[in-house]
């Protein structure tokens, strides 16, 4: 193998959409950037999510909406982004909720309409008699996560950025108050600035330099069907599901209960003896039921796969995007479960923090790490964000609960 250059101006840990977008934005500025990924780019949540790009609650919302329609062109590779969303309600309560969200967006200048059942069925051919109405967003949308990940990666490489896969970072090296580099399975790499975007592992990696970032990992599941003829709007969901029809025609949907997992290790090695790090379960029966209710005219369509992904959540469910004051050459991100859609904007914000110390296009101050300074360390227990009470399984594989 040829001699590997073991330093970079900026090292990014994590090849999910957050790290990839950040590295791409930096490379666009001509920065010498190296992205280090423990597996394959996009292997984790970034390649396993619903593809939704409508995050009205985020300070990055406007930038998310501005950038997505341009991403194919900016990256030079297709992301399968499609605009608009339809959220179908099967109960009045759902409809009121969806309209409430529509109003929040309308107040920010985005247009939405409420459709009656007949209009809904005209727009959504698989809708049935059970639909009570829908909201139709003329903004927002969805993209194909797997294609987007690779688009970022290739665009980054086209600009001279380097990607090192199958290399796990085990710790951060700080000397005299500054990050000097990282320790990895391939030895030490040096940098002037470090961007941490390691998803569920972000907290454990920061702990190696004594900085506390609270995150709790959880597992969520999705199902996908065989292709159906394309609907006018791909982003149709509702009835407690999120998801989309892919451009190929498949229905890909998730939602429902998540399972909290134990804290993860810094390098993300699966827990000892784990059969599968992201198992899916019989929840696929429940997802199938919800999807059949959403699209009664698609009951015959076959489910061909299911999968699970791991998401980290901060205590308030909001991202952390922050350049620390000490060490001040370290920028930290966790997107807390809403990171795919926001990724074009997140990368821009991270670029700004690294290059200029401040986000140029919006205030992100409320996403700083400092908000958790006084958080009790047993916050997961207090919030009930803990794995199911199963302590162990007996030799029959039956759950042994240590319930008081």
């Amino acid at each position: 193998m040829s001699e590997m250059k073991k330093n970079a101006s900026v090292i990014v840990i994590g090849g999910g959409v957050t790290g990839l977008s950040a590295a791409w934005w930096l490379a666009r500025d001509g920065v010498d950037v190296l992205l280090i990924e423990k597996g394959i780019v996009g292997w984790e949540a970034s390649g396993r999510n619903g593809g939704g790009c409508t995050h009205y609650q985020s300070p990055l919302f406007n930038e998310e909406q501005r950038l997505w329609p341009q991403m194919d062109e900016l990256l030079g590779y297709p992301t399968e982004h499609r605009q608009e969303r339809v959220i179908m309600a099967l109960t009045e309560r759902q409809l009121a909720q969806y309209q409430d969200h529509g109003e929040i967006c309308a107040a920010m200048g985005y247009r939405y309409e409420t459709l009656d059942p007949k209009q809904t069925r005209e727009l959504v051919p698989f809708a049935g008699d059970n639909v009570v109405g829908s909201v139709y967003y003329h903004f927002g949308g969805q993209a194909n996560p797997q294609r987007t990940v690779q688009a970022y990666a290739w665009a980054l490489q086209d600009l001279g950025g380097r990607i090192l896969q199958h290399t796990a970072v085990s710790s951060i090296i700080v000397e005299a108050g500054k990050v000097k580099g990282v320790e990895t399975s391939l030895g030490r790499f040096d940098c002037d600035h470090l961007v941490l975007a390691a998803g569920p592992q972000t907290g454990a990696l920061l702990e190696t330099i004594g900085v506390y970032l609270p995150v709790a990992p959880a597992r969520a599941e999705m199902i996908v069907t065989e292709p159906l003829p394309l609907m006018k709007v791909g982003g149709v969901d509702g009835n407690g599901l999120y998801g989309r029809q892919t451009l190929r025609g498949n229905l890909a949907y998730g939602g429902g209960p998540h399972e909290w997992l134990a804290d993860t290790t810094a390098d993300g090695r699966p827990p000892e003896g784990g059969p599968m790090s992201r198992p899916a379960t019989q929840l696929l029966q429940n997802l199938s039921r919800r999807l059949m209710e959403l699209f009664p005219k698609a009951g015959h369509v076959r489910v061909i796969r299911s999968w699970a992904g791991i998401i980290e959540n901060t205590p308030d469910g909001r991202p952390v995007i922050d350049r620390l004051s000490e060490p001040d050459n370290l920028t930290v991100t966790t997107m807390s479960g809403v990171g795919f859609g926001l990724s074009p904007a997140t990368g821009h914000a991270i670029r700004d923090l690294v290059m200029d110390g401040v986000c140029s296009f919006t205030d992100i101050g409320k996403l700083s790490l400092g908000r958790f300074a006084n958080l009790p360390r047993d916050w997961r227990v207090r919030q009930g964000w803990v794995p199911p009470i199963v302590q162990d399984y007996d030799s029959d594989g039956r759950a042994q609960t240590a319930q008081a």
Binding site: Q97, G255, G256, A280, Q282, G299, I304, I311, P376, D396
Partner: protein, 517 residues
């Protein structure tokens, strides 16, 4: 910590999984030689046994080549479930003994998933298997699961591959022996190894014509003298170039010499792929088995979750399946504390020749040399050999790219995994769940990256391991806790508060309203 501060997350899975609809002490999946022997052994030892087999398959799955390559060469009889059920019972006399022993035999029943608890799956109250018939799905709790899912066809595509009449050796055998519904007469068989010879002999014995066996190597790979004596032609040094045919199906096999030269065609209505077979490991993989390659080059379950056993062809081809089934049942019974006589451990003898990989790769190379790169490798998603080698985006995007355009380049970034190629090209992502292209895609990847076949990481299997309709898989209902706690995304109220409201008095009011159900 004050207890009153502690809340529970009622949106989390907790104990909300659908409870098992029924239970069995030992569930056996697959009523082939291994599964049947396992079930009978277990029942005789006094265990409570459920034996599940998907035969007779619904016409929908047969039409999708699931689980075998049936190649649209069946008579309308397969659509008659009742008649097929009788046929399956006639073809598999051991089932009668199973019924007599009081085994809960479930025919026409698919096992679409098996789930066992572990570090990242603590919500399962017990290990379960998911079953379905043509109308509904349900959950069965088990103490021991014996997976005896057998083997499926190793498939290579070639021009005209989708013409009715291109079948696999196991698909053909099932159509002739299990279903008595084969709708062909004159067969050309691809391959000359043990599987090809056995398939030819079976077809001849059943009264069909075998026109020829075709081999890309220069010599037959097994003893073909008996077949020659029965009038079968052996064509060596040739690959299949094309299945010629019309709307009715295949009319001839067009063959090309591997070394170049004149093509020739042999009239037939059926072309049967008999180069090899592959253990069916989908259910074991989903159940949490670690999958590893065995010496014969097949991916088989290695380390298994507690309570799960894999036996027969599913554990690796070439063993005495019935003996293996007895051994698996004996191990399962012993682990349950039943009094059992240790049964003879089945011989490890693998009947597969040591150069299985090389032989399969010889076929792939010969097909590519003679047929070129513009042949579709994945029919469901229409991905050609060239698309794979060039890592092209799928056709529906109409966005071919000339950048980063080869498997070789991708390999420079690290070991190439089949899951990654799936994501980029969509090969193996279709409704047949990659049964027709999985091994072929791996071989093309090995060729494209110039690496040994064994170094190509296998794509994982996912539930449901049979492509079943939404309406069948749909749970009858949600558990009460699930209905109440269902949320589109975690149900963290603070997550959805508009940024500008954070830290204002509107925040609390918003939090009261924010729930994405």
């Amino acid at each position: 910590m004050e207890d009153e501060d502690v809340v529970s997350d009622f949106h989390a899975i907790g104990e909300k999984h659908t409870k098992a609809d029924e239970h069995a002490e030992i569930v056996v999946i697959g009523a082939g030689a291994a599964g049947l022997a396992a079930a009978i052994t277990a029942a005789k030892a006094g265990a409570q046994v459920m034996l599940v087999d998907e035969n007779p398959l619904g016409a929908g799955l047969i039409g999708m080549d699931v689980p075998l390559l049936f190649g649209n060469r069946w008579t309308a009889a397969v659509q008659n479930q009742g008649r097929m059920l009788e046929q399956v019972l006639t073809a598999n006399p051991g089932l009668e003994e199973a019924f007599e022993l009081g085994i809960d035999v479930k025919l026409g029943t698919y096992a679409w998933g098996a789930f066992t608890g572990g570090p990242n799956l603590r919500s399962l109250p017990e290990p379960v298997v998911g079953l379905a018939d043509e109308t509904r799905s349900w959950i069965v709790g088990f103490r021991r699961l014996i997976i005896a899912t057998g083997a499926r066809d190793l498939v290579y595509a070639f021009k005209g591959f989708e013409t009715p009449g291109v079948v696999g050796a196991l698909g053909l055998t099932a159509l002739i022996q299990t279903y008595a519904s084969f709708n062909g007469q004159r067969i050309v068989i691809l391959g000359t190894g043990d599987l090809a010879v056995a398939t030819a002999t079976m077809a001849l014995d059943a009264g069909y014509d075998v026109a020829a066996l075709v081999e890309v190597r220069d010599t037959p790979q097994a003893d073909v003298s008996a077949l020659i004596a029965r009038g079968v032609e052996i064509v060596t040094g040739h690959a299949i170039l094309e299945a010629l045919g019309n709307a009715e199906g295949v009319t001839a096999a067009l063959l090309a010499p591997v070394a170049g030269g004149e093509t020739r065609s042999i009239a037939c209505d059926t072309i049967c792929l008999a180069v090899g077979a592959v253990p069916v490991i989908d259910l074991a993989d989903v159940a949490g088995a670690k999958i590893a390659r065995n010496e014969a080059g097949a991916f088989v379950p290695g380390k298994l979750p507690a309570g799960v056993f894999v036996t027969g062809d599913a554990a690796g081809l070439g063993t005495d399946a019935a003996a293996a089934g007895v051994a698996a049942a004996t191990a399962a019974l012993a682990s349950l504390g039943h009094d059992v006589q240790a049964s003879a451990v089945p011989s490890e003898a693998t009947a597969l020749p040591a150069d299985t990989d090389a032989y399969r790769m010889d076929w792939m190379r010969a097909l590519m040399t003679t047929g070129g790169q513009d042949v579709i490798a994945c029919s469901c998603e229409e991905v050609s050999r060239r698309d794979l080698l060039d890592v092209q985006p799928p056709r529906y995007l109409a966005a071919p790219t000339d950048k980063h355009n080869s498997l070789k380049q991708l390999a420079e970034d690290g070991p190439v995994s089949q899951d990654q190629i799936k994501r980029l090209t969509r090969a193996c992502m279709g409704p047949c769940q990659a049964r027709r292209c999985r091994e072929q895609v791996a071989m093309i990847m090995a060729i494209g990256t110039d690496r040994p076949l064994g170094s190509i990481a296998l794509a994982g299997y996912r539930a449901p391991v049979r492509p079943l309709p939404l309406g069948v898989l749909a749970a009858a209902s949600e558990t009460p806790g699930m209905v109440e706690g269902w949320n589109v995304w975690f149900g963290i109220r603070t997550q959805w508060i508009p940024y500008d409201d954070i830290g204002t008095e509107r925040e609390a009011e918003r939090a009261g309203r924010m729930a994405h159900f």
